[in-house]
């Protein structure tokens, strides 16, 4: 994909001069970290560029691991598996919880309850 700049020249988004993410927003996120006062321009550029690389990496990695399941579609599930499979993504473990259908979770809960109480007190009907 490419865009155009003011002179009509086609821009390549892999152009190293360009960052395809809004710098101001990157800065906003950075400043939301505690104890951050100033950020120099190089640091901003590097962070924005690194973020691009990171997105590419996360997408590619998860997609590759996912192929064979939902073929050709990158799903949330693919992403959620990445912290387990790759140390680099460990820091994402808390924000990538696995999803579970409500009914499956409720089954889990019921089983736990039965286990706890020991005598399987009826809190529900059978199907």
């Amino acid at each position: 994909m490419a865009g155009k700049d003011g002179s009509g020249k086609m821009l390549d988004f892999t152009d190293s001069r360009q960052v395809s993410l809004p710098i101001s927003r990157v800065k906003l996120i950075m400043k939301s970290s505690p104890d951050v006062s100033n950020i120099n321009q190089d640091a901003l550029f590097l962070t924005a560029k690194a973020t691009e690389l990171f997105v590419q990496y996360l997408a590619t990695y998860s997609y590759k691991k996912g192929t064979g399941r939902e073929t050709k579609c990158l799903t949330y599930g693919d992403l959620a598996r990445s912290p387990e499979e790759c140390d680099t993504f460990q820091f994402l473990a808390d924000i990538l919880p696995k999803k579970i259908l409500a009914r499956d979770y409720l089954k889990l809960l019921e089983e736990e309850e039965k286990g706890d109480e020991g005598d399987g007190e009826e809190s529900d009907d059978s199907d």
């Binding site: 994909m1 865009g3 003011g6 002179s7 190293s16 360009q18 960052v19 395809s20 993410l21 809004p22 710098i23 101001s24 927003r25 990157v26 906003l28 996120i29 400043k31 970290s33 951050v36 100033n38 950020i39 120099n40 321009q41 190089d42 640091a43 550029f45 590097l46 690194a50 973020t51 690389l53 990171f54 997105v55 590419q56 997408a59 590619t60 997609y63 050709k72 579609c73 990158l74 799903t75 949330y76 693919d78 992403l79 680099t88 820091f91 994402l92 924000i95 990538l96 919880p97 696995k98 999803k99 579970i100 409500a102 409720l106 889990l108 809960l109 809190s123 009907d125 059978s126 199907d127």
Partner: protein, 230 residues
């Protein structure tokens, strides 16, 4: 109904919030109380799950704005994201052309990105403090990358930075690629990445409108939406 005692009906749709909170979508008062279910309303129990709605097509109510700021009055740290269009575009270019991306996957990566930025920044900030400096510089960022397992990025990033600086020297200025729905309106001063800039012009409160950036090649005026150079 098997689960009526727990107050949760599996067939009812849940809205799954990006940070793991869930809310029942209809208005009835049956107990979806987290307390009844023994959970805090965030991640469920110790098994670290998030409820998936029946449709799970990326429910409404996740991001109020397409551009990824949760609420205009008082940003919560977890609400600040990069615009989803930009994120989605990078993802799309990374996977094979025939591949597709689920909507909730895009939104998820949006959050991962914010997490990544914060992760790198706090590490860099720590180093900066240790060395008794107030301004995070490029070295701090690169150091953070290598400490946190992104060592492979360091060399390419150095090259990018070098090219970037050279390009800035040679040209009068560049126009960034258009960002979708980024309403902050102060993109202009972001273009002034020239070597002549004094470091650390970004003030603590993040305001840029008052910063006048002077370079030998052009003068930026805040409030002007776009500069174009032939």
């Amino acid at each position: 109904m098997p689960s009526s005692a727990l107050g949760l009906v599996p067939s009812q749709p849940f809205s799954v919030q990006p940070n793991g909170r869930f809310e029942k979508m209809d208005g009835d008062n049956s107990t979806t109380d987290a307390s009844q279910l023994g959970i805090a309303g965030d991640y469920i129990g110790g098994s670290h799950y998030v409820l998936q709605s029946q449709e799970d097509d990326g429910d409404d109510g996740m991001n109020d704005n397409e551009d990824g700021i949760g609420s205009k009055d008082g940003f919560r740290e977890q609400d600040i994201y990069l615009p989803i269009a930009n994120v989605a575009r990078i993802m799309k270019n990374a996977i094979p052309p025939t591949g597709k991306i689920a909507k909730d996957a895009k939104e998820c990566v949006q959050e991962c990105v914010s997490e990544f930025i914060s992760f790198i920044t706090s590490e860099a900030s720590e180093r900066c403090h240790q060395e008794k400096r107030k301004t995070i510089n490029g070295e701090d960022i690169l150091f953070a990358m290598s400490t946190l397992g992104f060592d492979s990025y360091v060399e390419p990033l150095k090259l990018y930075l070098q090219k970037f600086r050279e390009a800035m020297k040679g040209e009068k200025g560049i126009v960034t690629s258009v960002t979708v729905a980024d309403g902050l309106g102060d993109e202009l001063t972001d273009e002034s990445f020239t070597n002549q800039l004094p470091a650390g012009l970004i003030t603590a409160d993040g305001q840029q409108q008052n910063v006048m950036v002077y370079t030998t090649s052009y003068q930026q005026i805040s409030g002007v939406q776009q500069i174009q150079f032939s």
